[in-house]
């Protein structure tokens, strides 16, 4: 049943009666402040863990790379590490370096995607266009190395399915140098922009206590002063051989999480270059014929945080049980803590700061506990951008300038 409800004070977008448009994130507000959130994730549930039990061990990487499109390198990596633990095998050194290179390239384009979307949510469309423009060369590099912009199909139990040809190395280094300079410029521009400071500081704060209670990981944790990173805490692949820093900020607000991600892009570029320069000779895989009975845990630091896989084998050729935990599974519930008490103009950017899937973010709607007005995603986006415009006017600073766009 469609209803048309008008409330004189708030200017809202197209109406969708809540009964027909069940969203991922259903917010309840009082006035303009969020009082409660209900999250529904059944829309995206596909039944992957059960499907994994029907596949052979070496087919599973192709399945899990499609759990989440932008963590598509980290899921198969965590899985094969769990199985390698059961077998008791270590891949050859070259494979460990190739794994680092692919995963850091993914981190770069995933964080750039985030930067662009964050810009889009607050009305900085030049940042959106710029960030997504500079994602493209990274996707092209991944396509050159693995054959696909996304879903690389690169790892297997015992190593990598494909090598990085040595002829491509000069191109990789040149592109990364070029990107590094661009990123330095973007990071400086963002960190210096008074409008972004005013718009994002103090917004969507996740306290350290809440971050621990919700067991968050990745930039969501590191932006609240919890300096954990699987690459350092339990070094995997070749991370133990590289010289790099864990980036964290104490404030817990959206600005802090943005700073963490921006600095991590530069750090990832540095790490990828080091790994490429140090790439040792040799094979990229050892042959693994059988998986004995046993249990293994594998984890990797995906762009969003820790990806964790648990695998149980009974000696057959399929997993008996395969548990998959994406970082968003612990990060998204923390949105409850960072969002309640926030103004509705800040909900899209607060959710974005946790970096859930893009499609999940689009599916947000507000139900007003007092008068049943529905605010859809488009309206929430508009409110967010209006707040930025207002701040810009108050501060009187010029729009962020980014060269060559």
């Amino acid at each position: 049943m469609k209803k048309s409800v008008r409330k004189p004070i708030l200017a809202v977008g197209p109406f969708h009666p809540l009964q027909e448009e069940m969203e991922f994130f259903q917010l309840t507000i009082d006035g303009e402040i969020v009082t409660d959130i209900d999250v529904r994730i059944s829309y995206n549930h596909r039944g992957i863990e059960k499907l994994s039990e029907t596949l052979q061990f070496d087919q599973v990487p192709f399945l899990v790379s499609r759990v989440c499109g932008i963590c598509s390198a980290s899921h198969p990596l965590a899985y094969v590490q769990a199985v390698e633990e059961i077998v008791g095998v270590t891949p050859p050194d070259r494979a460990l370096y190739v794994r680092v290179i692919i995963n850091e390239l993914e981190r770069i384009h995933s964080h750039l995607l985030w930067v662009g979307l964050a810009g889009h949510f607050i009305g900085y469309d030049t940042v959106f266009m710029w960030a997504w423009k500079y994602r493209e060369p990274v996707l092209d590099l991944l396509e050159k190395i693995t054959g696909n912009r996304n879903n690389y199909g690169n790892v297997k139990v015992g190593g990598c399915r494909e090598d990085i040809p040595n002829e491509i190395i000069p191109t990789l280094l040149k592109e990364l140098d070029f990107l590094g300079k661009k990123m330095d410029m973007l990071t400086k521009a963002v960190l210096d922009d008074p409008i972004l400071h005013a718009r994002l500081k103090g917004v969507g704060v996740l306290s350290k206590e809440d971050a621990i209670a919700y067991a968050v990981t990745g930039p969501t944790a590191r932006g609240s002063g919890i300096a954990i990173d699987v690459r350092r805490d339990e070094p995997y692949a070749a991370y133990g051989d590289l010289d790099w820093n864990v980036i964290s900020q104490p404030e817990g607000d959206v600005f802090a999480k943005a700073v963490v991600r921006l600095l991590e892009i530069s750090e990832a570029i540095k790490m990828a270059k080091e790994a490429i320069k140090k790439l040792p000779d040799g094979p990229v895989a050892v042959d693994v014929k059988e998986i004995p009975p046993g249990e293994g845990c594998g984890h990797a630091e995906a762009p969003r945080g820790e990806t964790f896989h648990y695998v149980r084998s009974d000696g057959g050729n399929r997993p008996v049980r395969h548990k998959i935990r994406a970082p968003s599974y612990v990060n998204v519930p923390s949105f409850r803590a960072s969002c309640i008490g926030q103004h509705i103009a800040d909900v899209t950017i607060t959710l974005a700061a946790v970096d859930p899937c893009y499609s999940c973010t689009e599916r947000m709607a507000v139900m007003d506990s007092r008068s049943n007005v529905i605010l859809d995603y488009e309206s929430l986006l508009r409110l967010s951008r209006e707040k930025t415009a207002k701040i810009k006017k108050e501060i009187g600073a010029p729009e962020l300038k980014l060269e060559d766009l």
């Binding site: 994730i41 059944s42 549930h45 039944g47 863990e49 059960k50 499907l51 039990e53 029907t54 633990e85 621990i212 209670a213 919700y214 067991a215 954990i228 805490d233 339990e234 070094p235 249990e295 845990c297 984890h299 820790e306 964790f308 648990y310 149980r312 049980r321 548990k323 935990r325 599974y329 612990v330 519930p333």
Partner: protein, 146 residues
């Protein structure tokens, strides 16, 4: 805490455990009956301040298992509590969500896919299965066809 400290402290709850299995220096499994699961989890999260990773529910033919995985980030050691639920007809275990909000979703999920009841869970509503999914059909149980 460092590994030696962790090993010493884990000994404090050995009376609640069936066994402690050290698969390697970075993988420890603490086996217990479901009745002791809450106490062991509470010890790991509150006393040892380990980070909760996730829980895995398993249909193991003769029983159900609930594995709670924790990380000691300082050493990269993963400590897994393996709780055995012996009653297959009415599987249940005490929820840890009241002391650990991070467990809320995964306990709801395990109820959806395995039919395990989490006692004292503050919000045991359906999480991942559709609204029209039939009650009593638990997809990750062995009897449900793949």
């Amino acid at each position: 805490m460092n590994q030696e400290e962790l090993d010493n402290r884990l000994a404090e709850i050995s009376d609640k455990l069936i066994d402690t299995q050290r698969i390697s220096d970075r993988r420890v499994f603490l086996l217990c009956e479901s009745e002791n699961s809450f106490a062991v989890n509470k010890f790991l999260f509150q006393d040892l301040a380990l980070r909760f990773i996730i829980a895995t529910g398993i249909d193991s033919d003769s029983c159900f298992e609930v594995l709670y995985h924790y990380s000691n980030d300082e050493t990269g050691c993963i400590v897994t509590v393996k709780a055995f639920i012996r009653d297959r007809e009415n599987p249940s275990i005490e929820s840890i969500t009241p002391i650990l909000p991070a467990a809320e979703w995964i306990e709801r999920e395990m109820r959806d896919i395995l039919g395990i009841d989490f006692i004292n869970h503050p919000n045991l509503r359906r999480l991942i299965l559709s609204d029209d999914w039939p009650e009593g059909v638990y997809p990750l149980r062995k009897e449900v066809k793949k």
